[in-house]
C-alpha cells in the first residue's frame, strides 16, 4: 500500500471532503493512502492548515502525495501547509489544478496502478480545460 502515491482532499466543506473520499474509496478501496479535511479552525466552512498537515500525514507515501482542492483558500492553505512540512517531504507533495471530485477519483485511480506522482498529477489536471 505504501508503494502508491497518496491522495489528499481539501474542501471548504467537511461534507464535500468526506463524500469525495467515499467516492475515492469505492473506486480504489484501500490501495491508495487517503486523507481528507474540510472546515476552518472554528468548525465553519473554510480550510485549516493544521488539518491539512494532518491529512497529508494520514495519506503519506514515500512515492509522494497529490492534493486536490476546491476554492482559492483551500489552495493557498494547502501551499502553506506544504511549506511547513519537513524539508525532506516538501518536494514530494503537489497541489493539482483540477476539479476536486473528478480530480480526486481520477488521481486515485491512476495512483492505484502504481503510477508516479507526476503521472497522477497529470491525470487529474487533464480534467482542467485549457
Amino acid at each position: 500500500m505504501s508503494g502508491n502515491v497518496g491522495i489528499v482532499i481539501v474542501s471548504h466543506s467537511p461534507d464535500v471532503a468526506r463524500g469525495t473520499a467515499d467516492m475515492v474509496r469505492q473506486m480504489v478501496g484501500s490501495e491508495v493512502p487517503l486523507g481528507w479535511c474540510g472546515g476552518d479552525p472554528g468548525g465553519g466552512l473554510g480550510t485549516n492548515v493544521e488539518a491539512i498537515l494532518a491529512a497529508i500525514q494520514a495519506a503519506w507515501s514515500e512515492q509522494g502525495v497529490a492534493v486536490l482542492v476546491d476554492l482559492g483558500g483551500a489552495e493557498t492553505n494547502s501551499e502553506m501547509a506544504i511549506e511547513m512540512l519537513p524539508e525532506i517531504r516538501r518536494g514530494r507533495v503537489v497541489v493539482c489544478n483540477a476539479p476536486i471530485v473528478e480530480g480526486a477519483v481520477m488521481a486515485a485511480t491512476e495512483a492505484a496502478s502504481g503510477a508516479p506522482l507526476d503521472a497522477v498529477r497529470r491525470t487529474a489536471e487533464e480534467l482542467t480545460p485549457g
Partner: protein, 204 residues
C-alpha cells in the same frame, strides 16, 4: 529606534484589538463580494494572538512577529490566514530589534513580495496589496509627520479599492459585480497600518 518589549507588546496588542473591534465591518464587506468570513476569521486569529501576548512580547520584535504570523496561519483559516501569516512571518524574519525607518521599509518590501508570491497576486487586483504597496512607498520616502501620512495613505488606498474589479480571490468570481465595494483585505490592512501609526505617536 529600539523596539523594546513594551513597544512590541503595544504594537501587537493594538493591531489585534483594532482588527477584533472591526470584525463586524470586515464580515459585512466580505459578505458583499466574498464568502462573508473575513471578520470572524481575523477575530479568531487575533484572539489567539492576544492569548499569547505575554510570551510574544518578550521574544524581541522579529521573533514576536514571526510568532504572530504562525498563529495567524494556524488559526485564521480562509485565504487570509496564510496571506497575513506570510506578511507577519516575513516581517519578523527581516526585522532586527533595533530598527531604522530604512530597515522597516526594506522588511515591509520583502513581506509585500512574500504576500504577492503566496497569493499569486499583484497591486491593482483589489486586494490587501493595494494598501500595503502605497504604505510602503510612503514609509520608504520618510519625512515629517510619518505616522499621520501612513494613516491617511492607508485609508485612501483602501477607499481606492472600491472602484476596482477583483482579479484574485473569491470576489473575482463576481467580475464586474465586485466593482463598488471596498475590498475587505484592503480594509483590514488599513486598520493594521492605522494601529501601528497610533502606537508610533504614543496613542496605542
Amino acid at each position: 529606534m529600539t523596539v523594546d518589549s513594551n513597544t512590541t507588546r503595544a504594537l501587537i496588542e493594538t493591531v489585534a484589538r483594532r482588527v477584533i473591534a472591526s470584525a463586524g465591518e470586515l464580515t459585512d464587506l466580505d459578505r458583499a463580494i466574498g464568502d462573508g468570513d473575513h471578520g470572524i476569521n481575523m477575530q479568531r486569529g487575533f484572539e489567539a494572538v492576544l492569548a499569547q501576548l505575554d510570551q510574544l512580547a518578550v521574544q524581541g520584535l522579529g521573533n514576536a512577529l514571526k510568532g504572530v504570523g504562525t498563529t495567524l496561519v494556524l488559526k485564521v483559516g480562509g485565504a487570509s490566514g496564510p496571506l497575513y501569516g506570510t506578511l507577519f512571518m516575513a516581517l519578523g524574519k527581516a526585522l532586527p530589534d533595533e530598527v531604522t525607518r530604512e530597515q522597516l521599509a526594506d522588511a515591509l518590501a520583502l513581506a509585500v513580495d512574500a504576500v504577492k508570491a503566496r497569493g499569486k497576486s499583484d497591486i491593482g487586483q483589489k486586494t490587501m496589496l493595494d494598501v500595503l504597496g502605497p504604505v510602503l512607498a510612503v514609509l520608504r520616502d520618510g519625512g515629517d509627520d510619518l505616522p499621520s501620512r501612513l494613516r491617511a495613505t492607508a485609508a485612501a488606498a483602501a477607499s481606492a479599492t472600491v472602484p476596482m474589479k477583483a482579479i484574485r480571490g473569491r470576489a473575482s468570481f463576481l467580475g464586474e459585480r465586485s466593482i463598488g465595494h471596498m475590498d475587505p483585505g484592503a480594509r483590514s490592512s488599513a486598520l493594521m497600518v492605522e494601529a501601528v501609526a497610533d502606537v508610533m505617536e504614543g496613542r496605542g
